[in-house]
């Protein structure tokens, strides 16, 4: 758990970080399940492993699209 959390903090590239954060969400879900809290484990897996990284990915896609747009404008297109 602590190792995965450290890995999230140490990953500098946002794209990779989203993936590592997803793994962190999954591991945290398993931990909740192991500690007999299956309700929280379900929420955690769905939100931490899927929804949150997904929002980050979508935001990254938008940022990238804006960058390509700017580059295109600078080239005078």
């Amino acid at each position: 758990m602590a190792a995965v959390a450290t890995a999230v903090a140490l990953t500098r590239d946002p794209l990779r970080q989203a993936m590592v954060a997803s793994l962190y969400g999954l591991v945290l879900g398993v931990l909740f399940f192991a500690f007999e809290a299956p309700d929280v484990a379900l929420s955690q897996t769905a939100v931490g492993a899927v929804a949150l990284p997904l929002m980050v990915l979508l935001a990254l896609a938008k940022v990238k699209a804006m960058e390509t747009e700017d580059e295109a404008e600078e080239r005078g297109e």
Binding site: F35, P38, D39, A41, L42, S43, A46, V47, V50, A51, L54, M55, L58, A59, A61, K62, A65, M66, T68, E69, A72, E73
Partner: protein, 259 residues
């Protein structure tokens, strides 16, 4: 504040936080040594009183349902926030997705993702509905099942494309689900006020514990919250996806000259 001063402030604050954290953690009861009375009380009375075999759901949708209503409206507020922040501004215009770098090779969605995604849609929907409907018996409920259902919509995007996703989950349907779920949950609360004495009083027959039609109003609350959560998450997903197709106007936005 110079960086040096800032570092000192951080070091003092960080040290203080660390000491308090250690102090707090050392005072926690050992794992498995629960001290509070409420959990034990609920474990004893929830099943006979509410015919609800998942105590967590009994707490969420009955004993403290009004808190859950507040949480439900946190999500609602988030959805409203996304909708108003990401609305089409006057200097923005939608465009068809055109290739900004025509020369590059567009990676095809791999057949593995298409097949796996398509094959997973139906099971995901089924699991989502199961989790929502059995919230009062087994772990799960409206929130968990709702998020699972929303990911089914995402799977259609992964295995097909954005347009297919819009066809499967048109905005009108998503918004209707979100609204109906939110209103429905309030109405269930009001039903307690009308037919009973308090907001969210469980006025329906309790049934036999373990049966699908038991626990009174709790399954209905789960369905309402499930609808609202599915709608909310699906709405945010499709809004965020739509954003990648929106083009900023040339007149305003980030291009402004500095003062």
């Amino acid at each position: 504040m110079t960086p040096k001063v800032r570092r000192y402030v951080f070091l003092v604050a960080g040290a203080g936080l660390f000491i308090y954290l250690i102090w707090g953690f050392s005072g926690l009861p050992d794992f498995g040594h629960y001290v509070g009375p409420y959990g034990d009380v609920l474990n004893k009375i929830a099943v006979p009183e509410r015919s609800n075999t998942d105590i967590v759901t009994a707490v969420n949708f009955d004993y403290r349902a009004i808190d859950t209503l507040g949480e439900e409206f946190i999500l609602f507020a988030a959805v409203v926030g996304v909708a108003s922040l990401l609305r089409t501004l006057h200097d923005e215009s939608s465009r068809d997705p055109h290739d900004d770098a025509p020369g590059r090779r567009v990676p095809e969605t791999s057949l593995a993702i298409r097949v796996a995604g398509l094959g997973l849609v139906a099971p995901t929907v089924l699991v989502g509905i199961y989790v929502v409907l059995h919230g009062h018996q087994t772990p799960g409920g409206g929130f968990q099942g709702g998020v699972i259902l929303a990911t089914a919509l995402l799977l259609t995007y992964l295995s097909a494309d954005y347009m297919t996703m819009r066809r499967v989950g048109p905005t009108e349907l998503i918004e209707a689900a979100e609204g109906a779920g939110a209103v429905g949950f309030v109405l269930i609360g009001l039903a307690g006020l009308i037919f009973g004495t308090t907001f969210f009083e469980n006025v329906l027959g309790k049934g036999t514990p373990g049966q699908l039609d038991s626990a009174g109003l709790i399954p209905f609350s789960n369905v309402a919250v499930g609808l609202a959560v599915t709608g909310g998450f699906a709405f945010m997903l499709s809004e965020f996806l739509l954003q990648t197709l929106v083009r900023r106007g040339t007149s305003g936005g980030r291009k402004r000259e500095g003062p």
